[in-house]
Amino acid sequence: MANALVFIDTPGAVLKKSSLELLTIARSLGETAVAVAGELSDDVAKQLGAYGASTVYLPSGGDLGEYLVGPKAAYLAAATTASGATAVLLDNSPEGKEIAGRLSIKLNAGVITDVVGVEADGTAHKSVLAGSYTTTAKATTPVAILSVKANNVEPEPAAVAVSPGTATIEVPADSLDGAARITARTEKPVSGRPDLSEARIVVAGGRGVDGDFGPVEELADALGAAVGASRAATDAGWIGHDAQVGQTGVTVSPQLYISAGISGAIQQKAGMQTAKVIVAINKDPESPVFEIADYGIIGDLFDVLPQATAEIKKRKG
């Protein structure tokens, strides 16, 4: 019997860092099992074993990738029951939270979203109201469901690797009837930069870039960073909406967030205030972003960013 069950939707060819983080947290709660919805390669199975997963559940019947949320939640409910786990961990993506939501009703289990830390007794830590409060919360039900934000623990393999057993779980057939179907999927062009939600460093631009993300992108590339943006910049069409950081965009908690030409409205802060170090470059000394900056530069981003980029290149040789 497992104590914790980690849901990894589509593991791909190699596990994402956020999945390794979930496995690391799960191990701190006890014996860990994993449920995947997509295909499981031998390499990933090995990696799961290295992180201490004793059992991997796989779906049989029904291609879960064709449906949105409902059938995945039904499958995960069956896997949870089979595993005996009292804690289910998912990533904090929109779909992760929604699977958590439907799963909770099936299992009569409390859900806590946006978790940044979990204690051994299941107490979850989170940050709410755009980062203005930190709270601790707990599920009062036999099973607890936690969706966990990326970048809050260091992934750590188990002291002893195991070779996980696999078990198939029948996808409840009635869960497919009437579920929302995905009828088309278009991949977005890949940038070659790190994934925004998981990046260690983010360089973000706002209305102040005035249509030219060049200096932001060049600094990002010198630092190996992801590129982010405010809603003003994405609404203007200067950069894709996937780059938007904030309440209605991506939430990031990187080691370093460099904000350039962004005023620091509450909805922008909601998405980046948990960054370890915040640097702000803004022409206006009254900008609210300076209230949360560890290092603030009152200046023109078109001077400061290219100079910093050149200096980094020089030092890195």
Binding site: L68, V69, S93, P94, E95, K97, E98, I99, G101, R102, S104, I105, K106, G110, V111, T113, L129, A130, Y133, T134, T135, T136, A137, K138, T140, G178, A180, R181, I182, T183, A184, R185, T186, K188, D195, I201, H241, D242, Q247, T248, L256, I266, P285, I292, A293, Y295, G296, I297, I298, G299, D303, V304, L305, P306, Q307, A308, T309, A310, E311, R315
Partner: protein, 271 residues
């Protein structure tokens, strides 16, 4: 023309994010003074109004019902929705609801949706915001869909209904999906879907004549123990204001700020 629709829009009354917000209520609940209609629910209302208008509006028999659950003051979210253009409003209000978590909230809202379907004309579509701007869990739409056994098409950035099929686009990290479901369905929409309209003078006058029904738990067939703190599956054990970030170093660019920035990053071991 397309068949007419009966749409319920979930509107939440939330503390205005322009002011400082506080957690100081019983059971670590949020202070609800200075509250407004959640901005993210305005997109759901706009989407509902557009669907109704494409089908000839209220005159043709389309209904856009704004539903809120919350204390007495929450009726203001419904009033604002009526001014913007909803055809009628429903306020589910009961002292026992205070402190409900997402699971208990979805239970109460599901009961209210069933109640609204019981007049002989079933609800076709429940539209919601992508998240409440206070709780921000995005759990309620999924939990509601599960409780009602409806398909969910969530985080839609476009939306069309033809016949009994609803189609929307959903943008996930590295790809964009087209999702299709049959009515009745729960659809949550993002702030990318439309530009919400503002109430105009005519709308404000018209709203005064529109009906707001107040429902109690008994009206929707629930027992007080099923909601509020006793019906919730989670507890908030502590809530602490985050200490303000310690004031950092602020410099004014004198021509070398880019280099000073790199010095700072090097000192923080971030290069």
């Amino acid at each position: 023309m397309e068949e007419t629709l009966k749409i319920v829009v979930l509107v939440k009354h939330v503390p205005d994010a322009q002011f400082d917000r506080h957690i100081n209520g019983p059971g670590n609940t949020t202070d609800r003074a200075e509250s407004i209609l959640s901005e993210l629910d305005e997109y759901a209302l706009e989407a509902a109004l557009q669907l109704a208008e494409e089908r000839g509006g209220p005159k043709a028999g389309n209904e856009v019902i704004a539903l809120t659950m919350g204390p007495a003051s929450a009726v203001n979210a419904v009033k604002k929705s009526l001014q913007i253009g909803a055809s009628s409003g429903v306020h589910l209000s009961d002292d026992a609801l205070a402190g409900s978590d997402a699971a208990a909230t979805s239970l109460a809202l599901a009961a209210a949706v069933r109640h609204l379907s019981a007049d002989g004309r079933p609800v076709d579509l429940v539209l919601t915001g992508m998240a409440s701007t206070d709780g921000e869990t995005s759990l309620v739409p999924a939990q509601l869909a599960e409780r009602l056994s409806y398909p969910q098409l969530t985080f839609a950035s476009s939306l069309e209904v033809s016949g009994s099929t609803v189609v929307g686009r959903r943008d996930a990290g590295s790809f964009s999906e087209t999702v299709e479901a049959q009515l009745p369905a729960v659809v949550s929409v993002t702030d990318q879907i439309n530009e919400p309209r503002y109430p105009n003078f005519k709308g404000i006058l018209a709203a005064k004549k529109k009906k707001i029904a107040t429902l109690t738990l008994a009206d929707v067939g629930l027992d007080p123990s099923q909601v509020g703190h006793s019906g919730s599956w989670t507890v908030v054990e502590s809530a602490d204001p985050r200490p303000p970030r310690t004031a950092g170093t602020i410099i004014t660019d004198e021509g070398d700020a880019g280099i000073k920035l790199v010095d700072f990053l090097a000192a923080q071991k971030l290069l």
